[in-house]
Symmetry: C2
Subunit: 331 residues, 2 copies
């Protein structure tokens, strides 16, 4: 393992310091935790708080989405490990402005359990907390760490949409309703060229041959659904889009948002080429997405690969939310 | 070589399509070229045009910095290869609004020569063109492809500062003066953990042992100044900062902007940890930078490593320019 770190056991602590130090205009550390709170307190006033988080290693998720128009706070667990309930609870308290707090949780058993426990702790303080569990990864049902589908890059669309609504003064009820409405329209699926190396483990989560890829790998190196020899970008796009098409029933009559997401070690050059192939495949079906974005948004440390998220924009208001201005590190 | 591409000989063509397709709100392709022009034509009116570019493989540089408040156009050469004079000339013509065009060129012999030739072509059209050659890399004097110091990540600060000035209506004379004033205050130096693989070459530019790093490597895998065993992030920060300190004579009485730049395959987790160590080193000298940023800004395809740019903010107006709002893909 060759990494720019100090102590493998202390990476999250130091990373959170780095984030808060480099971006004081957006985030500040909640004392005694590895959670980051929005620095712009005025922007929080009178608004529902939005809290997300999970294991670290998915940077810029989730701290990179903390700021006006998006999240209120993000809790950074140890690498690929759910944050503890007490840390989530501290983030909820810090995010609460008397209008309630909404939690955006990726569907991993540990996260679901710990965010739920934090919700119970907050209830004892009379903070009203609701939540959504994002399960956008259509690659496989059930997985290591997960009952049902995993939560992956599509979570960032959820952050963005709910964040815009919260900034515009939506109530906790309205945000919950919006989250439930959006969720089934978000589908994600990825392909891995290599696995991530967790610093404390020191070696990759799995090994692929020099010419091999795996479809449907999770963001913690969970197994996907097929290994085969690497194919041209066009064919990778075709494979992933076919799966999404089966699930979402893509149609030229509907509107779509597309997120091409790099897994950490995949250069933008490859992401843009893959994006072109995605757009071409969609164009052949007379689909021109109304919103598109490519880059490293929900990574898996140093994994090579991409994921593709397609969201049906079933309500034009969702598009306004996607385009709503934000003040964050990474959106 | 395992990459998400189609034809290794066609990566730039397809990447430019992908960029223009994913980000039509910011960039559009200049017909017949692999150059990208700002989509927002109104924002160009009455302003000096700013054109940059160079070999591809440094994404998001330079197309990611095209947009209001930053570049007017960016020319994408073949991978690690200077764009041709005719392509640069087309970008100059497209960027010109009658107020002249300013070229930001990284110091590589091919780039310097081809941008100069394009300048001559434009002069025949009575387009007034000036330029600056950025040579911020303090690692080595002269190099493969370069007389003098290389131009690297600090170029992005130049884009940002000149872009803000141009957007505020600075004349060609004023922009040239500003560029010359800023240039000597920008210093960059990097460390590589692995080399980039150019798609058409198919193997890394050099090979480091599993526990080895090289200081001062260029963004085209040009040799650096020392190889040794990997050290903790803290010591890497110390090494790079000492070199910058020798050159800039860092002082608590001065203001600094800091850019921590990932080379393409280095996760944000590592970049943030390294950032923390940079900030700590500076804090020990009572220096708190007035502007900080970390992420992949000037990459070397899939190279692993980071570079550190420190700019002395010798004039408060430069800080305003750094903070000036932009509409781009990647700033």
């Amino acid at each position: 393992m060759k990494k720019i770190i100090n102590d493998p056991g202390n990476v999250v602590e130091e990373m959170v310091d780095g984030l808060a130090g480099m971006y004081p205009q957006y985030v500040e550390r909640i004392p005694g935790t590895t959670a980051l709170l929005r620095s712009n307190k005025d922007s929080m006033k009178g608004k529902v708080g939005l809290v997300s988080g999970g294991g670290s290693g998915h940077e810029p998720a989730h701290a990179g989405y903390v700021g006006q128009g998006m999240l209120t706070a993000a809790v950074c667990g140890q690498v690929f490990t759910s944050p503890t309930p007490d840390q989530i609870y501290e983030a909820i308290k810090a995010a609460d402005q008397g209008k309630g707090v909404f939690l955006i949780v990726k569907n991993y058993s540990g996260d679901v359990m710990n965010f739920d426990m934090a919700k119970d702790l907050a209830a004892m303080d009379d903070i009203e907390v609701r939540s959504i569990v994002v399960d956008d990864d259509i690659a496989v049902e059930n997985s290591l760490y997960t009952q049902g589908r995993r939560g992956v890059a599509g979570t960032v669309f959820m952050h963005k949409i709910l964040g815009a609504a919260a900034d515009q003064g939506a109530s906790l009820d309205e945000i919950e309703e919006l989250a439930k409405a959006v969720l089934p329209h978000i589908n994600t699926i990825g392909v891995a060229l290599s696995a991530a190396t967790v610093p404390e483990v020191g070696k990759p989560g799995f090994v692929l041959a020099d010419d091999e890829i795996e479809y449907g790998v999770g963001i913690h190196s969970e197994p996907g659904y097929r290994r085969e020899k690497i194919k041209p970008s066009k064919e990778l796009a075709q494979e992933l889009l076919s799966k999404i098409d089966e699930s979402l029933k893509l149609s030229a009559d509907k509107k779509y948002a597309v997120l091409v997401n790099g897994m950490g070690a995949t250069p933008l050059m490859e992401q843009y080429i893959f994006s072109r192939d995605v757009l071409n495949w969609l164009a052949a079906k007379n689909i021109k997405p109304v919103f598109t974005k490519a880059g490293n948004y929900m990574t898996s440390i140093d994994m090579a690969g991409v994921s593709l998220t397609v969201m049906e924009v079933a309500d034009d208001k969702w598009l306004d939310y996607l385009n709503y201005p934000v003040e964050t590190i990474a959106w």
